[in-house]
Symmetry: C2
Subunit: 421 residues, 2 copies
């Protein structure tokens, strides 16, 4: 049996654990050198695959690959670049197959969200039709947790843990000072289209009165009057109010709240930052002193407080991707299948790439309390297992030790370059 | 020898480790029940001492007091309330002594920053002159690290560790995506008057090219042209630029940058948030895509990633405060005395409260690089020991377990209440 090479690529926003998936792929391939040749990685995601900027992972030591498991970010680089439809952008797909053929690549592992699974599916299709069949396996990844079929998306559990830990800690601070100082704390978290991350902050509240007191979700149109009433009641009862707001919160007309308030000195709308808008709204209507935080990239890079469950699952889907390819599967994505809640047990299954594309799973209605400002017990039961366990990185000199790979580039073989649109 | 009671109060902004100082006080007093009677804690800081809202710490279990060592925030409540001059606000001081006398309190442990040390000093003076001498010991605390005499202020080391860890992690994220997406990341940190916290982020950079690439300090007037030139150069060289900005950065005229740019829809200036101002400045002048984060309370409450050194020192100054009082010292504050850098060794000394008041120690000039955008090796040598060691809290269900005390209130003895100005 002729040995073919493989290509691994990271796609879209990176996470605290996407490199754990990479480690799962690499370590598993290294156990099967009889079946798969060289594993390349695309530099900066699919862009590197198009421009033939390939990294030879063979030069990385076992220790460095193992260190990927505790290193956040994307070790080979990622990108936000969506390949278009095959009809309109056929050249891109042909180019990919051309690069694959030039480097004898017959396995493609694409680690990303819904768009990436779509791309992986199209590559599997077009490579067939061009007579150079490539085994394409998607590997799930997204902090947004909006992929279908899989119990959750690797990357999400660690952000979930970070936001729950952070609001618990910051709220202890606010509660200490509330009698004479700040009464309102607003923490903005990611989630442009789905409220999974904001919802996860709700895990910090274990009994009545615990923070966060109110959660603003993209799934619930912002009701200003109801919100202000709840904030006021909360301050009157507990002396303070801790609020978690998803960046994707919209008003009843469907406009982002983050774009509704602030303009800069030139009259331009402020980009991003719903937390200050909410904080000022409270100040102007209720007069309470506020503080706000915007976690931004800190949340999705926070490997120092990653969920052990998330790290293990991220590795598991990377490993399964290779095993599926070796078992002859194609155009599938490993998924996490929840077998039980208590104790939390899961297995790795698979789902067809064809059905994953362009489905974004929002927080279901029964996960949201009737008033729209909190999460239900059903939601807690779903979320809680995902943040279980700590998996601390090693430290040196007081700081986590994260690995930087050699990333040795492969000599190009194609005469022509490729212009990224 | 008649036994007197003691009062402990927390003051000003709380930290991740102020409760470790409280534990140091409480556990040490519990070892000396032959010499000190009941330890009370003022509810919500000095306000509780004035209004006779006292907590009896005797009701707290040994386990709960031990748990304070890993619990952020202020377990008894704190406040921002500065007692005025004795001349103009004599009644406040007389009231304090009246409350102390009513509860047989002859020891006062005040855990706070410079203002609190000033208050503790004044109480020691006026209690003498009123014929009810109270032993007053200050306990240092401030994330701002601006107290004189002491090597550092408990609370600072943990924020320092948090910001260095956070910028290292977020920068790995940005670096992964920079080729095709976000090129600028701005992280805002605390430090209204001194740049210690922003400087500490510089520990994350260990070799040329490491993030953070630029640090904006309150000690250095913001030079927009020089800054933008450096940002552009950084992006051209490394594909991205990670910037840490202190909330206290001012322009050449001495105005806060945070107040210079944004106005809301009503024309009011935006309160807080220098990170978005810096990010937009870069976008408007250089066109680079940006993200920004404001850590706010997350940084000073982040017990989950506290510095072990900081926790130990916070405990040590609490313990020393009691030991100093028992040794007959008065109107002093335990200080950390650095004995050596490598290995880091320190002892606990003391400094007179009289000399601590109203001195804020800024980052010295030789800790700042000549260009004003970075820290020197001397600064690293000073800062590095303060972030050493991890001291993780216990976890349950994926979240840190922080203690809430019983905080059983003591029956009031005074007929008159007291109105807080």
């Amino acid at each position: 049996m002729e040995k073919y090479n493989a290509l691994y690529a990271q796609s879209g926003g990176v996470t605290a654990v996407i490199n754990a998936s990479a480690a799962g792929v690499i370590q598993t391939i290294r156990k099967h050198t009889d079946k798969i040749g060289t594993l390349y990685a695309a530099k900066n995601g699919i862009i590197g695959a198009l421009t033939e900027d390939l990294i030879d992972t063979s030069f990385e030591t076992e220790a460095d690959i193992a260190a990927l498991i505790h290193t956040p970010g994307g070790a080979f680089g990622s990108c936000r670049y969506k390949l278009g439809s095959i009809e309109k952008f056929r050249k891109q797909y042909e180019r990919l197959v051309e690069v694959f053929a030039a480097h004898n690549i017959r396995y493609f592992f694409y680690n990303g969200g819904g768009d990436s699974q779509d791309t992986a599916y199209k590559v599997s299709q077009i490579s067939q039709s061009l007579g150079y069949p490539v085994t394409c396996i998607g590997i799930p990844k997204t902090v947004d947790n909006d992929l279908p079929f899989t119990d959750n998306s690797p990357g999400f559990g660690s952000v979930a843990k970070y936001v729950a830990v952070s609001i618990r800690e910051a709220s202890l601070d606010v509660a200490s000072m509330a009698k004479s100082s700040t009464k309102i704390f607003v923490m903005e978290v990611m989630g442009r289209h789905a409220g999974w991350i904001a919802a996860a902050s709700g895990l910090a509240a274990q009994k009545t009165g615990d923070a966060p007191h109110l959660i603003l979700l993209p799934e619930v149109p912002f009701d200003q009057a109801a919100f202000l009433k709840r904030v006021d009641g909360c301050v009157k009862q507990y002396d303070y109010c801790a609020i978690v707001v998803s960046e994707g919160v919209k008003n009843a007309e469907g406009s982002y709240i983050s774009e509704s308030g602030l303009v800069d000195a030139f009259g331009h709308k402020q980009l991003g930052g719903v937390a200050p808008v909410i904080a000022k709204l409270i100040k102007e209507n209720l007069g309470y002193k506020y503080h706000w935080a915007v976690a931004d990239y800190l949340q999705r890079a926070a490997r120092h407080i990653a969920s052990k469950t998330d790290v293990e699952q991220a590795y598991a889907v990377g490993k399964a991707a290779v095993e599926f390819a070796l078992a002859g599967k194609n155009a599938v994505m490993p998924i996490i299948v929840r077998e039980s809640n208590t104790p939390y047990r899961y297995t790795i299954g698979d789902a067809p790439l064809e059905k994953i594309a362009n489905i974004e799973v929002p927080l279901p209605a029964h996960y949201i309390t009737e008033d729209g400002f909190g999460i239900t017990d059903a939601c807690r039961e779903y979320l809680s297992p995902l943040i279980q366990g700590e998996d601390y990185p090693p430290y040196s000199q007081g700081l986590p030790v994260y690995v930087t790979l050699k990333n040795k580039m492969v000599a190009k073989k194609l005469a022509m370059g490729f212009e990224i649109a």
